[in-house]
């Protein structure tokens, strides 16, 4: 049948014109929905930027977690060698660095001062192994395992701290997600209302279109497109604001954070990804919002 041929360019042009005309016709509702999308996406954008950077911090911290195994000061070289072998062979261990008791003392002297030089005569410390886990989440298990070996005096790692950080991250992520969902819903609601007004305003036109045999998609497409415009228009300001601010923030702070554990994600491709995501969300809200109205008020 004729109607199933690929949509003609002329038809597409007509749909585009119609959808843009409606935006102007309902200018106040257009403004309201675009603002809602703008505010929503601004918050989403800021949230994403913060979350992604915090995630990266968490990753860095995670990778930085190590287990410090201190040997019995009395253990002799042979015993230490056996222990080292045992530690290296513990499942899940990726890396072991051996520091002798003298090296450990030097480190202490460096941090606490020359008074500790006294101890050079008879070093009370044991040797130390710095152990890294392949999977940072296994740190606790590995530490426990190593603690059971002979000649270990103490096994320490950042107990609890990492977990706490993760919990805080998770909680803020959930709160942020909840907030964003509420905002997304509001934006969609406003868009669907705008589209509804358009549908009502064009009620007679739609009625005639249906009577003379316009296909359902022909009737629907202008409204879906209108939703797309609302979403795209709403995402322009957030994309610009977030890009500029992040570039600014990055160029200001990056040099100062050179040797810190916390690093800002570099601007490319991060900003592009964030912008892509914002645009996608804008279009998604728009399409979904208009879809709800079209389904409800346009029984085609």
């Amino acid at each position: 049948m004729k109607g199933y041929t690929v949509m003609k360019a002329r038809t597409m042009g007509r749909h585009l014109r119609e959808s843009l005309k409606s935006l102007g016709r309902n200018s106040w509702m257009t403004f309201a929905s675009v603002s809602a999308v703008t505010v929503t996406l601004l918050l989403v954008g800021v949230f994403i930027v913060i979350m992604m950077n915090l995630n990266q911090l968490a990753d860095n911290l995670e990778n930085d977690v190590e287990i410090k195994v201190i040997t019995e000061p009395a253990a002799d070289a042979e015993a230490i060698k056996i222990l080292e072998k045992q530690v290296r062979e513990t499942p899940g261990v990726s890396e072991v660095i051996h520091a002798t008791k003298d090296e450990e003392l030097d480190k202490m002297i460096k941090s606490f001062g020359d008074e500790l030089n006294l101890y050079k005569q008879s070093n009370p410390l044991g040797d130390a192994f710095y152990v890294k886990a392949k999977d940072p989440h296994q740190t606790a298990e590995i530490a426990k395992e190593i603690g059971t070996y002979d000649n270990t005096d103490q096994v320490v790692y950042g107990e609890g701290k990492i977990e706490k950080l993760f919990n805080v991250l998770k909680m803020s992520r959930n709160i942020g997600m909840g907030l964003i969902l509420a905002l997304l819903f509001t934006a969609m609601f406003l868009i669907s209302n705008t589209i509804r007004l358009t549908i009502v305003a064009r009620g007679r036109e739609i009625e005639i279109m249906k009577l003379v045999g316009a296909t359902n998609s022909f009737v629907r497409i202008p409204f879906i497109l209108e939703g797309v415009w609302l979403g795209v228009l709403g995402s322009i300001i957030p994309m610009a604001v977030i890009s500029i601010s992040y570039y600014e923030l990055y160029s200001q702070w990056e040099p100062r954070l050179q040797n810190e554990l916390f690093q800002l994600l570099s601007t490319t491709p991060f900003i592009l990804q964030v912008n892509g995501l914002l645009l996608f969300m804008g279009v998604f809200i728009g399409v979904w919002g208009s879809f709800m109205s079209v389904r409800k008020f346009l029984r085609v």
Partner: protein, 228 residues
């Protein structure tokens, strides 16, 4: 052309608007549908262009069974049917030419075809001179002619008219009837619901009386008078 077999229609609110309708309307026929208000006349008409689907029974238009027609296919059915209403249903912001062309644009006809068809049909209803005028600049009769032009511009096999003279004075009604006669003379089937006794009794055609959701009388060269 149009066949209804044991058609039964019950609305969700419980009203039974068609209670076993059987009718056959041949190609090129001109049929008046008369009957008191609320007797099922509108439903009878609406089921023909699938504005309403029957609850039970079959309706064939040009061989297509509307009872089993998928919603997706309804637009293609409508392209074979012209519909005219009492209130014209014109778009106030479009002029005469555009109102008629609209019907072809939305079914994605080519611009060349649209120009040709619209000019032809405007000549047929005698509105060539008024093609650039807007509906609010026209008389009721002229507006109805625009609406008729729109209904036949795609050369449908059937034209369904629901009280097309309901809003018009007697003289204008005759003009409109003349146009319907012309369309019918070209071989188009016409089904017209009307309350206009004078027209039915003067321009004689088949008369179907619908009352209580049933066809109570069906006469060729019939007269109005369903009261009797």
């Amino acid at each position: 052309m149009i066949v209804m077999k044991d058609v039964y229609k019950k609305y969700p609110n419980g009203v039974v608007a068609a209670n076993g309708i059987n009718v056959e309307i041949g190609r090129g026929e001109f049929v008046y549908v008369v009957g008191p208000s609320g007797a099922g006349k509108s439903t009878f008409i609406k089921m023909m262009y699938r504005e309403e689907a029957p609850t039970k029974g079959d309706i064939f238009i040009n061989g297509i069974n509307l009872a089993t027609l998928r919603n997706k296919r309804v637009p293609y059915l409508r392209r074979q049917i012209g519909v005219v209403f009492q209130d014209f249903k014109l778009l106030p912001k479009l002029n005469v030419y555009e109102n008629v062309a609209f019907a072809l644009e939305v079914i994605e006809e080519s611009p060349k075809q649209i120009r040709k068809k619209v000019n032809d049909v405007l000549a047929l209803v005698g509105l060539t001179q008024k093609a650039r005028m807007f509906p609010n600049e026209l008389s009721g009769g002229e507006q109805q002619r625009v609406s008729i032009a729109r209904s036949i511009v795609n050369v449908p096999k059937v034209v369904i008219a629901d009280e097309p003279t309901g809003n018009l004075d007697p003289e204008t009604s005759w003009e409109i009837m003349k146009i319907f006669e012309q369309i019918n003379a070209r071989g188009t089937t016409i089904v017209m619901a009307t309350h206009n006794k004078e027209i039915v009794n003067t321009i004689r055609h088949r008369v179907i009386v619908v009352d209580g959701g049933m066809i109570t009388r069906d006469e060729y060269e019939g007269v109005y008078g369903y009261e009797s």
